[in-house]
């Protein structure tokens, strides 16, 4: 059998498709007599746009539409005219939507005129290789481009078998996708490692795949959806991806000069935190929350193999949360390699300073700790399991260890009030030396999240997100099963508090590059110096002595007032309760402490990372601009 694995726009063009890589390796192992080929449609689309637009539509535009418009559905819309065989389909709807929301659709519009020809050429390329089965993997905005190509393939060669799988096919979404698109023969719902080989065995034998768990298939004109299995794929059965054909495609591509290829690896599936406390807004794990991880040494063997084979040191892990065991095996192995890796990892925000230091040493220099908020009340409402001061600690330690920290400030949780935000917003100017959120965003209702599954949590009214109206020509009851995002009446804060939060997040972002707040302890001295060079604050150095200095150090770990008082009492010569209260008030006002309402945490850092804004040296030879300068108090050890 000849099998074609396809990843269509908007797979990020600098990344191989993990799904294609995994399935290729799986099929090589389980069906050695088959011939497996790949079609990197997203990369081809970027090439196609570059050529047809004579260089006007570049890979950066591909990113803008494919990754950054996910809440407006522009990437899907680009191909919807092809899917519905009508160039004007969805155009008026999108224009009206964009005008109302102020959405820029010029790039997507410029791309859309090329979509039909691209689909035709893609079909030519695939059919030239005479596949028996074409398998599409679809996540986020890959649905419509994949459906458009699948329809064209079946129109030209009805005997071809078309299979869909991927995150967009999980649960009811997969069945809706199947029953509304007759040209899709099969939809694999959930993980594919067991289901796809079982399906291919049926295709070989010409038998009905009625026993393949989760599979959708056609029984005459009836779309059948087999019951989904509760059995998850064991880590030992998750293959190591094969990216050889992707590498060939990248090497031959004129797009290569525009992108910085990275490897994608998978250590774990599911979420160990979500098994116990599912964050109320999160639907990312779909229907398979059960946490499973490859042993750390096996993951390192995979990384070792891929790095050597592809000569690439940039690695993106797709794990929704790092396996804590990796701090004992995988990360030390990565650190011991002494390779200059640059890895991205999603972690929980309660890591210790030592764990963050290990991440940095292992080359996992880009982390996504799921900070989400600095308000205890909002964090409690989302069942995040961390406090505001703990999140501040994480941000502070990221500075100390030069870790890039990606996060967004989320709001709109049912039950939150203006009061939950007032203190945080007031204190945000003091945080300007720490890495800012990408923005403040209202949460959206995601399928598979507790907020979706349980309307009593605060979102009883919901309908498919408005953007899907310019993406799919389907009735709302079908969209309700097909899509991932839903619109709801806004919950939680709004009005002035929402505006203040957004403005404070913007100011933080703007002021960050030029801001530092650095601790110095002169050798042999118990005095602490805090050099304040934050945007919006007086340029000054605070000198702390005695219990004031000790208190600031104790609060690096984040402590309640009473815990701090106990520690200072144990130190001897403690302040009175009134003195301590006065000092805490004053130090918060100076922006040296963050108060989350339960505990206090110190804000100054010991080190300043290089900020990536262009760092010119000042005329006197000192570093100008954003980065830590010698006069900011930061000292190298030794």
């Amino acid at each position: 059998m000849r099998i074609h694995l396809v990843t269509m726009p908007w797979q990020p063009i600098e990344l191989p498709s993990l799904q294609v890589g995994l399935l290729h390796a799986l099929l090589d192992r389980t069906r050695p007599d088959d011939e497996v080929r790949e079609f990197h449609g997203s990369l081809r689309w970027a090439e196609f746009l570059l050529e047809r637009s004579k260089g006007a539509l570049r890979p950066g535009d591909h990113v803008a539409v494919g990754s950054e418009s996910i809440f407006d559905g522009l990437g899907d819309w680009v191909f919807s005219g092809v899917l519905y065989n009508d160039p004007e389909w969805g155009v008026a709807q999108l224009k009206e939507y964009a005008a109302r929301r102020g959405t820029d659709i010029s790039t997507a519009t410029a791309m859309r005129v090329h979509a039909a020809e691209f689909i035709e050429e893609s079909a030519d390329a695939i059919l030239d290789e005479a596949p028996d089965v074409v398998g599409f993997t679809t996540t986020f905005m890959q649905n419509v481009s994949s459906l458009a190509l699948a329809a064209e393939l079946k129109r030209r060669r009805p005997g071809l078998t078309v299979v869909f799988g991927g995150s967009n096919c999980d649960g009811p979404m997969g069945h809706a996708l199947h029953r509304n698109h007759r040209f899709v023969d099969h939809v694999v719902r959930g993980e594919g490692e067991y289901a796809l080989p079982a399906l291919l065995t049926h295709i070989d034998a010409g038998t009905a795949p009625a026993d393949v768990p989760g599979l959708c298939w056609w029984d005459g004109q009836e779309s059948r959806a087999n019951e989904e299995s509760r059995r998850t794929v064991a880590p030992a059965d998750i293959p190591s991806p094969d990216y050889d054909l992707w590498q060939q495609a990248v090497d031959a591509s004129p797009v290569a000069e525009y992108v910085h290829p990275k490897l994608v690896v998978e250590g774990a599936r599911g979420c160990w935190w979500g098994e116990k406390h599912h964050c109320t807004f999160c639907g990312l794990n779909g229907s398979a929350m059960t946490f499973r991880a490859k042993p750390g040494n096996r993951l390192w063997d995979e990384v070792d193999r891929l790095v050597r084979r592809h000569r690439i040191l940039d690695i993106v892990t797709v794990d929704n949360i790092i396996d804590m065991a990796y701090f004992k095996d995988f990360l030390p192995l990565a650190a011991e390699s002494r390779w200059d890796l640059r890895m991205h990892y999603e972690v929980k925000s309660n890591l210790t300073a030592e764990q963050l230091e290990l991440l940095a040493r292992a080359g996992s220099v880009h982390i996504q700790p799921g900070i989400e908020s600095l308000s205890n009340r909002a964090l409690d409402l989302m069942d995040k399991g961390v406090s505001g001061s703990r999140n501040i600690r994480t941000l502070r330690e990221c500075e100390n260890h030069s870790l890039t920290c990606s996060w967004n400030y989320l709001y709109g949780f049912p039950g939150e009030t203006d009061q939950d935000y007032a203190s945080v917003i007031d204190q945000m100017p003091a945080l300007v030396h720490l890495q800012p959120p990408g923005g403040a965003h209202r949460i959206q209702l995601e399928r598979f999240s507790p907020n979706f599954a349980n309307p009593a949590l605060g979102f009883p009214q919901r309908r498919p997100a408005e953007m899907y109206r310019h993406v799919y020509d389907l009735p709302e009851d079908q969209l309700a099963d097909l899509v991932y995002l839903f619109d709801t009446p806004p919950a939680g804060i709004g009005g002035g508090t929402e505006a203040r939060l957004k403005a404070a997040a913007r100011d933080w972002y703007t002021g960050h590059p030029a801001s530092t707040l650095v601790l110095e302890q002169p050798t042999g001295d118990e005095t602490l110096l805090v050099h304040d060079r934050r945007h919006g604050w007086p340029r000054r150095t605070h000198r702390l002595t005695g219990w004031h200095a000790a208190a600031l150090r104790h609060l690096e770990a984040g402590r309640t007032r009473s815990a701090l008082h106990r520690l200072l009492t144990a130190d001897g010569d403690p302040p009175t309760g009134a003195e301590l209260d006065a000092w805490l008030r004053e130090t918060v006002a100076l922006g040296l402490l963050f108060d989350d309402g339960r505990s206090y945490v110190s804000l100054p850092t010991w080190h300043v990372p290089v900020r990536s804004v262009e760092r010119a040296q000042a005329p006197d030879g000192t570093a100008g601009g954003a980065s830590g300068t010698p006069d900011n108090g930061e000292k190298a050890a030794g």
Binding site: W339, V610, P630, A637
Partner: protein, 201 residues
């Protein structure tokens, strides 16, 4: 006194000793004598190595060019060529009457314009000294890789065998090594500290 957590430390960097007299205080390095980067030969190669290692450790360097050095007194195109080649290294401090190209160096220098990363049996190089002509290299040919490693330290070209000389010529042609008066030295610092955000370089 209850125990306080030890502050996170940064290891003091080991800088090349001997050729470039300097003092280091925290992250500030002050070079005690004017450098002669334009003169070529071993002293220039050693000075380049020193600045390269300072850059690799994200140190701020105060240094001045010798005013009788070709980098200061030479024809504009030669000064521009050298300054452009070394733009990724800490720039010289200002001096009255300095060539405009040195001012440009100071203005255009930025962290991460040229750096290398080490893998198991290869090295990758990112070159953004000329933003309009950014380039990536993967050095995995054994001879080229050996030469790149060798010229991390200033090396007399005459001491290399024919294969090594050819490899150094190739590195120089790609502006990844500087060869002057028979001495070669690699130009891309190893990246030891990623900026924030790390994805920007």
């Amino acid at each position: 006194m209850s125990p306080l957590p030890a502050p996170p430390t940064r290891t003091a960097p080991a800088l090349p000793a001997g050729w470039v007299p300097h003092r280091i205080r925290g992250r500030l390095v002050t070079v005690d004598e004017p450098l002669r980067l334009g003169a070529g030969g071993r002293p220039a190669a050693e000075a380049v190595r020193f600045l390269r290692e300072c850059q690799s450790h994200d140190l701020v360097v105060r240094w001045l060019p010798a005013t009788d050095d070709p980098l200061f007194t030479g024809p504009a195109h030669e000064v521009a060529g050298t300054a452009g080649l070394l733009r990724h290294l800490p720039a010289p401090g200002p001096l009255p009457g300095e060539p405009a190209e040195l001012t440009t160096w100071r203005e255009r220098h930025a962290y991460g314009q040229l750096y290398h990363r080490r893998g198991p049996d290869f090295v990758t190089v990112m070159d953004r000294r000329e933003p309009s002509a950014a380039a990536r290299f993967t050095i995995d040919d054994p001879d080229l890789l050996a030469a790149f490693r060798t010229v991390q330290d200033p090396t007399a070209v005459a001491a290399l065998d024919a294969v090594g000389r050819e490899a150094v010529d190739l590195l120089a042609a790609e502006r990844l090594a500087r060869v002057t008066d028979g001495w070669a030295v690699a130009l891309p610092p190893r990246i030891r500290r990623w900026p924030v955000p790390c994805t920007d370089i």
